[in-house]
């Protein structure tokens, strides 16, 4: 005696985004840890040395967090006004920060009081950085100047007054102690050489520049301003390479993944986008709750730290290897699960006599009803709200099975207003879906046949029938348009193809139909992989 064969639910290819290696990589983070700061978080910087603490600049404070701590391990509060741009030196021992009061302060990471105060700017200093020789500091200010300072005796070495608007971003070269780049709200990026008095290279971004990033090789420079992210080739004299426009609000921060293969950009539109640095395509996207002002990646991408305007710091840690596996396996475990598996994984000992129990075939509810030939009930089960909305393919499979059994008419008939409305609702939602159309069109025809006598008795049903009619008319127009496009494309392809002579015994020519166009424009066979 064969067992009941359950209804086969067709597996359709997923229409959504494909699961790529990138998706897997960037999804592999835990739920974020959220820490409330005192104000908008303007800058986050990771210490270059282990244990890779990070400095978070928010309002008048700079907090230093350990890699896994949720409480700051260190706080710098000696600011008279809003602090900006707390950055570590390459040995991780000194930290420099600008301030709204135009004074630049240098701290020892272990101390509290500022070691040096650099006074000279006349307006707020938004950008500070150490040069690669570790003895000088670059600052950029709202007074349109950028300056170089000597750390040991706290004197100003040089002042560059080329920008014509606020300087809000800048980077120093990690390879050359004399080179640094600044970006300003006057839309320009300027490359300076400390040995020269003037800028050596100027690039026009087109929008106020918010953030700069140098590639590790320092051949490429990335700038963000407005909605654009631009990549410049410094070795070719500052030639623009790519311009990316994937955000719909100002891009505020840029960051490079540790391998250097992925570029991240954060924006006020609350998204972080991940680009592939070879073809600059977006490969992944993160959503956050508020506009993002700052973003940093820990070394080896161990965590993603994002600071937002609503003064919330969000830290996402990477899942460890075994953890990520466990999660996927545990998904279905419910509290009662243990009761069901009790004794199931018991390994019989050597002398145990195994009494085999026939495996009970598990059937879905609609299959149980189909097995008993309760066709109406089976259709009702398949039309339950959850199935109907989340898994329309199950509902369609049951309708198809009923049609195959020749009992679809019986199952559709004899419904009250509510049941009929539910059925029509489902049809309106899915009848134009090319995956379901062949099955649902038959069902729709049957419904109309059965219920044509009751049209006009219920306003709900009548309204839905009118909607269905509208929908179908629109679909027919749409199909007609598509056919026209197909015809146009056919002629174009035919004329563009070189006429090739084929050694043939007859005088016909060859025509090869192009599968690509077909698949673009008509319902394509849905092939699916392993069932």
């Amino acid at each position: 005696m064969a067992s009941f064969k359950p209804t086969k639910v067709q597996v359709y290819p997923k229409l959504g985004e494909k699961v790529t290696q990138d998706t897997l990589y960037w999804k592999n983070y835990k739920a974020p840890v959220q820490i409330k700061e005192f104000g908008a978080i303007t800058n986050i910087d990771f210490s270059p040395v282990a244990p890779h603490n990070f400095a978070v600049t928010a309002f008048t404070r700079i907090h230093i967090y350990g890699p896994f701590s949720q409480e700051p391990v260190k706080t710098f509060t000696r600011f008279k006004d809003t602090a900006y741009c707390g950055r570590f030196r390459s040995d991780g021992q000194l930290l420099v920060a600008g301030c709204e009061d135009s004074v630049v302060r240098l701290f020892d990471v272990s101390g509290k009081v500022a070691l040096r105060m650099f006074k000279g700017h006349t307006k707020a200093v938004h950008i500070t950085d150490f040069t690669s020789d570790r003895y000088q500091i670059l600052t950029g200010s709202d007074d349109y100047t950028c300056r170089l300072w000597d750390i040991p005796n706290a004197t100003e070495l040089n002042t560059y007054q080329e920008h014509t608007d606020y300087i809000r971003c800048g980077v120093t070269s990690k390879l050359n102690r004399d080179l640094f780049i600044t970006g300003s709200y006057d839309h320009t990026l300027k490359l300076f050489d400390a040995r020269a008095d003037k800028s050596v290279m100027t690039m026009d971004h087109g929008q106020p520049v918010e953030s700069l990033l140098l590639y590790p090789s320092e051949g490429l420079l990335v700038s963000a301003g407005g909605r654009h992210v631009k990549v410049w080739d410094l070795l070719k004299g500052g030639q623009p390479l790519v311009s990316l426009k994937n955000h719909h609000k100002t891009v505020t921060c840029l960051c490079l993944s540790s391998s250097g293969h992925r570029l991240l950009s954060a924006s006020l539109d609350r998204h972080v986008k991940v680009y592939n640095t070879t073809n600059y395509k977006v490969v992944h996207n993160f959503d956050y709750a508020a506009s993002i002002l700052s973003l940093a990646l820990a070394p080896d991408d161990e965590s993603i730290v994002v600071g937002m305007t609503n003064s919330i710091l969000s830290i996402k840690h990477r899942k460890s290897l075994d953890e990520s596996k466990e999660i996927s396996g545990q998904q279905r475990r419910q509290p009662s699960y243990r009761v069901f598996v009790k004794g199931k994984n018991y390994v019989p000992k050597q002398d145990d006599y195994l009494v085999s129990k026939p495996v009970k075939q598990h059937l879905a509810k609609y299959d149980k009803q189909l097995k008993k030939f309760n066709v109406s009930k089976a259709l009702d089960t398949a039309l339950e709200t959850w199935t109907r909305l989340r898994k329309p393919e199950i509902t369609v499979a049951v309708i198809k099975e009923l049609d195959r059994r020749g009992t679809l008419k019986n199952a559709l008939a004899g419904r009250d207003e509510q049941g009929l409305a539910r059925l029509l609702n489902f049809l309106i939602g899915n009848v134009v879906d090319p995956r379901f159309a062949p099955v649902l069109v038959t069902a729709a025809e049957m419904i109309l046949d059965i219920y044509q006598s009751v049209i006009g008795q219920s306003s709900v049903v009548d309204r839905q029938l009118l909607r269905l009619q509208e929908l179908l008319e629109r679909e027919i127009d749409y199909q007609q348009d598509l056919l026209e496009v197909l015809g146009m494309l056919d002629t174009m392809f035919a004329s563009s193809l070189p006429r090739k002579e084929v050694p043939s015994l007859d005088f016909f020519n060859v025509s090869v139909s192009y599968d690509i166009i077909d698949s673009l424009l008509t319902c394509q066979p849905w092939s699916n992989g392993k069932m």
């Binding site: 005696m1 494909k18 699961v19 290696q21 059994r405 139909s513 599968d515 066979p525 092939s527 392993k530």
Partner: protein
């Protein structure tokens, strides 16, 4: 033309076993069923065929156990004879010549020496009237007996054997025909006739399809066309009869049967559900659903332990009375037509064609046994007439047998055609095919042909399908598209080709896979599968091409095609020109995969001729006129397991592979030579199957193991008992006497060894003496029994029950002495 006296067309395998209801023997060990011109004896436990009872020259129409002898069986046949067999040894005992075709047989224990048979009415010229005739079987020693003493019992009966049955130990016989039920009482010699209206108000059809009688009670059950079962009672009155109706079946009841005690009534029909009704409590029913296909007959073993149902798909299911299937005897499933081609599975070398609805059957040709059914459609089969179901219409294997492609379709009247192309991968672990890819709607219209690229060395496997929608598509096994680890490679479309909107009819790959030929009506196009370039077109106007075939091996430069206007064309692919053509109405052209030979079935004047030829040679290798009547459309070359060593020119083409074909009447036929048949006969005689357990390798392994286990716990004594059963008495004596009363082992040893040394020569004349001895011994023992009753009993029993005394006098005496010795010292020990 060459003379081919020694090549014969023979039936091979796949005979029908569901023609008449099977019979289970009294010990429930064997099942007998009519199968073509012989009666097959199956073992109910192992499902193996044990004997074929051969001898009839016509279709066997009934099998019946002889009521007076449970080891003998009657069989009747359309050749006008009734034969009596001993089914355990498969020996024909007697042949009764009746003289006119017999359509069914029945008998009862009440009527000694009489059998009842159904024959056509002799007096009436119309052949569709039948009568029930009682035949007195003459008691004579001869093998061949004429039984001419016929006396008509009932006239106008149905030829359906299910419609005539004996009731209540043979007191009456009930027969149904059309709308009438007739009951004949033998004692009163009177018959009662009950009629039903043709249709009742609700449109049910009252035609009686089968009858069963309760074995103990006066009750007749009739099954009807509309699925009703009527239980008739009180039918020995013309007027006061009553009946009650049971209704569960939705279509005709095809078989009814009471269990031997009469507690249950079994019924079955098209629904393929065995329904068990409780007698007198008809509201309680048991069901055994999903038996596979429509039930045609139900029988119950005489002890009621086994039920057995025959099904329309040539299957017999044996069911234990606890409603559990215990065995399935499955023959080759034959539908009305084979829609898939016949194929040979390259792995199992079995014949593959569609069998049960939605399945492919794998049929082992050398063993004549169905190996398994592969469920292609994987849907619940709804047993309802008039319902369009998915049918497997095309199937193809690749060269190594690791891929199977199937096409299933379902066409409703006014709905779109539903097509599925499925690709199955062979799984080494489970040794069966596992679904890999399903492509729904691969084409927009019916698929006309499908073939795999048969090149063995190619890296990728390719499948080409042609369809009525004017396209042919190439499918290729692609690398996994996604990164999900569990997803293996799946199939996807590689190329779509068309030629002027013409409909492609057939496709064929060359042997090395470098060329693909697709015929578009009258044009044959040749493509290169590597670049999908159209290389050349060949055409032989003006009619459509029917079959295409590339030559093999040395003839691989030839492409052969048959056209609708009776032409067989051979193109040379090197010159792209027609090499030769001949006028023949060829219905089927196929190439032997192992040799250059091609077989062409040629339809002429209502019968089919076969030509076997090489494309390079003008003369056919073999030809035979009138292979069978009608048109052959399905045939296959099956590679042989071992090559034949025939040197004769005419039979050489059979050396590598064997040609099987299906006649229009769905008979599987093949060609054999005389030598091969002789060899087969010899080997079949050697093959003696143990009726209890099949001699499978598994059994050999297990049996040996069990023997060892038996031997281990017992000492050498019991092991030696097997070869020398004569000494059992002495050993029993030794074993049954408690150890503490036995003398020392050294004392017993010599005697024991002597007992083993008994030769066969002390034969019969000594047994008399022994018996006399026994008498005297018993007396002695009795006297002893007074003294020692406790140890006495087992010895007495063992001696008394001695069946084949084989000990010598001297030995017994010795034994006696031992006992006496024994017993004398034992009480002494007690008293002291």
């Amino acid at each position: 033309m060459v003379e081919h006296g020694d090549i014969r067309v023979v039936h091979r395998g796949g005979s029908k076993i569901n023609f008449r209801e099977p019979v289970i023997t009294h010990d429930s060990r064997y099942l007998l069923c009519a199968s073509g011109e012989c009666v097959k004896v199956f073992s109910t436990s192992t499902e193996e065929c044990i004997h074929d009872l051969r001898g009839h020259t016509g279709l066997v129409t009934g099998v019946l156990l002889k009521p007076s002898n449970h080891l003998q069986v009657y069989s009747c046949s359309a050749d006008g004879t009734v034969r009596l067999w001993d089914y355990t040894d498969g020996i024909l005992i007697k042949t009764y010549v009746i003289g006119c075709p017999v359509y069914s047989i029945c008998a009862s224990a009440n009527h000694e020496g009489v059998i009842f048979i159904v024959t056509p009415m002799l007096s009436d010229k119309r052949s569709d009237l039948f009568q029930l005739v009682a035949v007195d079987l003459p008691q004579s020693g001869d093998q061949l007996v004429e039984a001419r003493e016929l006396s008509a019992v009932l006239s106008d009966v149905s030829s359906n054997p299910a419609a005539i049955v004996f009731g209540r130990g043979g007191e009456y016989i009930a027969s149904a025909n059309g709308l009438h039920l007739e009951v004949y009482f033998f004692k009163k010699q009177k018959s009662y006739r009950f009629s039903l209206k043709e249709d009742n108000k609700k449109g049910g059809k009252n035609t009686v399809t089968c009858v069963a009688c309760h074995p103990k009670d006066d009750c007749i059950a009739t099954g009807h066309e509309d699925g009703k079962i009527r239980l008739w009672r009180n039918f020995n009155h013309k007027k006061e009869y009553t009946y009650s109706t049971l209704h569960w079946h939705h279509s005709a009841v095809s078989s009814l049967c009471f269990t031997p005690e009469g507690t249950n009534l079994l019924s079955g029909g098209m629904e393929s559900v065995l329904v068990q009704w409780r007698y007198n409590q008809e509201s309680e029913r048991d069901f055994l659903p999903r038996l596979g296909s429509a039930i045609t007959h139900i029988t119950v073993s005489p002890d009621g332990a086994l039920f057995c149902t025959s099904h329309s798909d040539n299957k017999i299911t044996i069911i234990q009375s606890c409603v559990k299937v215990s065995a399935v005897i499955q023959g080759l499933v034959k539908g009305e037509s084979v829609r898939t081609d016949m194929m040979v599975d390259p792995r199992s070398k079995s014949l593959v064609l569609n069998g049960k609805p939605g399945h492919l059957q794998f049929y082992s040709l050398p063993r004549d046994k169905l190996l398994y059914n592969l469920d292609i459609v994987q849907q619940e089969y709804i047993h309802e007439s008039g319902l369009e179901q998915f049918e497997v219409v095309k199937a193809a294997f690749d060269a190594s047998g690791s891929w199977l492609a199937t096409v299933e379709e379902r066409k409703q009247k006014d709905a779109e055609l539903e097509l599925n192309l499925k690709l199955w991968a062979f799984d080494e672990q489970t040794q069966s095919f596992v679904l890999n890819t399903t492509i729904s709607a691969p084409h927009e219209a019916r698929i006309t042909a499908m073939c795999f690229c048969h090149a063995t060395d190619s890296q990728t496997t390719m499948l080409v399908s042609t369809s009525k929608d004017g396209h042919f598509k190439a499918w290729q096994l692609g690398a996994p598209a996604h990164t999900e680890a569990d997803e293996g490679p799946s199939w996807s479309c590689d190329f779509v080709g068309a030629y002027h909107g013409l409909v492609p009819e057939c496709c064929c790959f060359s042997a090395d896979g470098s060329l693909l030929a697709v015929s578009f009506q009258e044009v044959v196009t040749v493509w290169s599968p590597a670049s999908w370039e159209l290389l050349t077109t060949l055409s032989q106007p003006p009619k459509a091409v029917r079959d295409l075939c590339f030559g093999r091996l040395s003839c691989s430069k030839y492409l052969l095609g048959t056209t609708a206007n009776n032409l067989l064309c051979c193109w040379n692919l090197l010159t792209c020109s027609l090499e030769w053509s001949t006028s023949m109405d060829i219905s089927l052209l196929l190439a032997d995969p192992l040799t250059e030979n091609m077989a062409a079935f040629c339809c002429q004047a209502g019968s089919t001729d076969l030509f076997v030829f090489k494309p390079s040679e003008p003369r056919p290798v073999f030809s035979q006129k009138a292979v069978c009547s009608g048109k052959v459309t399905r045939a296959v070359f099956a590679p042989r397991e071992e090559m034949l060593e025939s040197c004769e020119e005419s039979s050489q083409w059979l050396n590598h592979s064997q040609l099987y074909f299906l006649t229009p009447y769905m008979d599987l036929m093949t060609f054999t030579t005389k030598a091969e048949e002789d060899r087969l006969m010899a080997s079949s005689k050697q093959l003696v199957i143990d009726d209890s357990v099949a001699m499978t390798p598994f059994y050999l392994l297990l049996g040996k193991h069990r023997q060892q286990e038996d031997a281990d716990p017992l000492s050498g004594l019991s092991a030696e008992r097997r070869p020398l059963p004569q000494c059992s008495v002495a050993i029993k004596e030794l074993l049954q006497t408690p150890a503490h009363v036995l003398p020392s082992t050294s004392f017993l040893c010599s005697m024991f060894v002597q007992s083993l040394l008994i030769s066969v020569t002390n034969g019969r004349e000594e047994t008399k003496h022994v018996e006399e001895e026994m008498e005297s011994e018993k007396e002695e023992e009795d006297s002893e029994g007074e003294m020692e009753s406790s140890t006495q009993r087992p010895e007495q029993a063992s001696l008394g029950g001695q069946a084949a005394p084989a000990l010598t006098k001297a030995q017994l005496r010795e034994l006696k002495r031992v006992k006496k010795l024994d017993h004398s010292w034992f009480p002494g020990l007690l008293h002291s």
